[in-house]
Symmetry: C2
């Protein structure tokens, strides 16, 4: 693991959503700060070097997200507190309650509501992705971690360029769309990494998303572009899994992006064989795409013990996935996405990165 | 009040949302069954005759709502209980958690998710409109009440035709869109009444919505039609009020419906003078539209004491509104919408209907 620098931001520990509101019930979520510490400790024990994330400006962030959305994320918690929701109803986290679906809008143009409680649903598309006092610092730190990892593979940070760098991002990002957040994701770290690699010499970048859930945000950000390929293997949303509305096989890109988006939905219960066969299919397509750089959306929630998905991938399966992706042999930024089973989380990440850098 | 039959359905008492989930916090709502009993008792005390709603088939209901949406409303609670959400997280009411806004869909076609908890947000656009065991019976009973009131002004029920009939509907309906529910509304009783009047002899029907909130559902149902006028006075959604995204002055209808939709948003604190001036403007436009029948969306939550709006209309103001609308002199179905201040609710409805039938 000495050849894979691990970028992280102390700020990642500041994000405390406090709860998830799921079907109207506030409950303890699994996207907790301890995820970072167990992964970090496992990587350090495996010999990895920790690299603090360095600050980066908004150039790349604003290329993948609407700046109005970014401004909303930066300011909404202060606005929420200032508007007195904590005193009014005891809620010191931002949670939307009304959502401008087509069922509400009926073809009218989308406005940004005046009221903060109305505006929250303009950008947030679920009730399980709460914004608390440290959330902005954490999400912005995760973006900096992704961009610092890009610097490392470009040789733009201290020391020579490495082939593989890993950004221990929290909160995760792949459900964050150009102007929307949800699924415990706020800003899209993987998309930021891909755009950062594009702007530092790669004419084409591939993103391979091995998180158990479809990365609808990453897909949406690059859906119309031919220069960034997005491939994902994930539990079939049609079998009843998040994000429910997106992540189907027929989503192949649009306009110039047609053909550079690939979804391989997997049946519940899929284990190593089916999962690695799907990954092989995507890696083959990536080879044909001929990218100069790779981003891996590294979610380890497809693992057998993970509480958030019904896939059954082993630690060895994750290692072999790393090997398959590493064989592409191109500069690679791995970005942490999901993974919620604290006892096994660190080992799964170590196994994957060991394969990736082998 | 002897000349205004009051149609109601016992089933209206069966709807018990149990709570509203507002900004992630389950709290006691104000749309309670006691609303019906206090209005009913005040009307009976004022000499009104109670008429039980009679059953009507789906013909008119399916003309204003997507039949798939109606089927969802009829079946979702049973499906929810069958899927075990009560056992799983203690939630025996249907509450969505993920919503297919454009921020989520990114231009992809809208699907109906497989999972019940995913599907709930396909139709429900907020978290404050819960569906419990008696909800379907109540909402369907409210539709029957509206259609029975239509029968009464048409002379299609027992006895001669009356000029004004009142449907004591609960739950209210004017936020229910062609395929969406929210704002404590499930099926659009006023739209059903208007469509019922269209199908029984009126070439043109006007709907005047005096509820404190914009009736975005009714607007959406008739937005493209020239045969049904919709006019609403309501607290300005731009000042921070529900439905936040819809209800603005520039929404004037679309296609064939251009010009037959009219919104007069009012500033917070508007009292009798401003409110009645706006109503006069709408009544003038209704006269010019020359409808053969009228539907009044009778919400009394614009009243001074109501907890759900910042308007300050007096009981006398409501009486004068009734007079203004009654002077149109055409067959009229008044449909109960909002109104949440239990001590004054009955008197406000009596005052309005007395004016309407004078």
């Amino acid at each position: 693991m000495r050849n894979v620098p691990v970028v992280w931001s102390e700020a990642s520990l500041l994000h405390d959503p406090g709860a998830e509101v799921w079907v109207g019930v506030p409950m303890q979520g699994t996207e907790v700060a301890e995820r970072v510490t167990v992964i970090r400790d496992a990587l350090v024990a495996a010999g990895a070097e920790l690299v603090p994330a360095t600050g980066h400006d908004e150039t790349v962030l604003h290329a993948v997200h609407d700046p109005d959305f970014v401004m909303h994320m930066a300011t909404i918690h202060d606005a929420w507190m200032g508007a007195g929701f904590k005193e009014l109803v005891g809620q010191d986290r931002v949670v939307p309650y009304v959502f401008p679906t087509e069922a509400l809008l009926g073809g009218l143009p989308l406005r940004t509501p005046t009221a903060i409680h109305g505006r929250a649903g303009r950008y947030g598309y679920d009730t399980m992705t709460l914004i608390g006092p440290g959330s902005w610092a954490a999400m912005r730190g995760a973006v900096d971690a992704a961009l610092t990892a890009v610097d490392l593979v470009r040789g733009a940070a201290a020391g020579p360029a490495v082939r593989v760098a890993y950004a221990l991002c929290r909160p995760p990002g792949h459900h964050a769309t150009p102007s929307g957040y949800g699924g415990s994701c706020y800003l899209n770290n993987a998309a930021v990494a891909a755009e950062g690699l594009r702007r530092t010499g790669a004419a084409k970048v591939a993103i391979v998303d091995i998180d158990a859930h479809h990365g609808n945000g990453t897909q949406a950000i690059f859906y119309d572009r031919s220069d960034v390929y997005y491939g994902s293997l994930h539990v079939d949303p049609g079998a009843g899994w998040f994000p429910h509305y997106v992540g189907y096989a027929e989503e192949r890109g649009r306009g110039a992006g047609t053909g550079s988006n690939r979804n391989l939905p997997l049946a519940e219960g899929t284990g190593d064989d089916g999962w690695l066969a799907a990954l092989t299919e995507i890696v083959t397509e990536v080879s044909e795409f001929e990218p100069q750089a790779l981003v891996v959306s590294l979610g380890v929630d497809a693992a057998l013990d993970d509480p958030e998905s019904p896939l059954r991938v082993s630690r060895d399966g994750y290692h072999r996935a790393g090997v398959l992706l590493g064989e592409l042999g191109i500069p690679t930024v791995a970005v942490q996405e999901g993974g919620y089973h604290l006892p096994t989380l660190g080992g799964l990440v170590v196994a994957t990165l060991t394969g990736l850098a082998s």
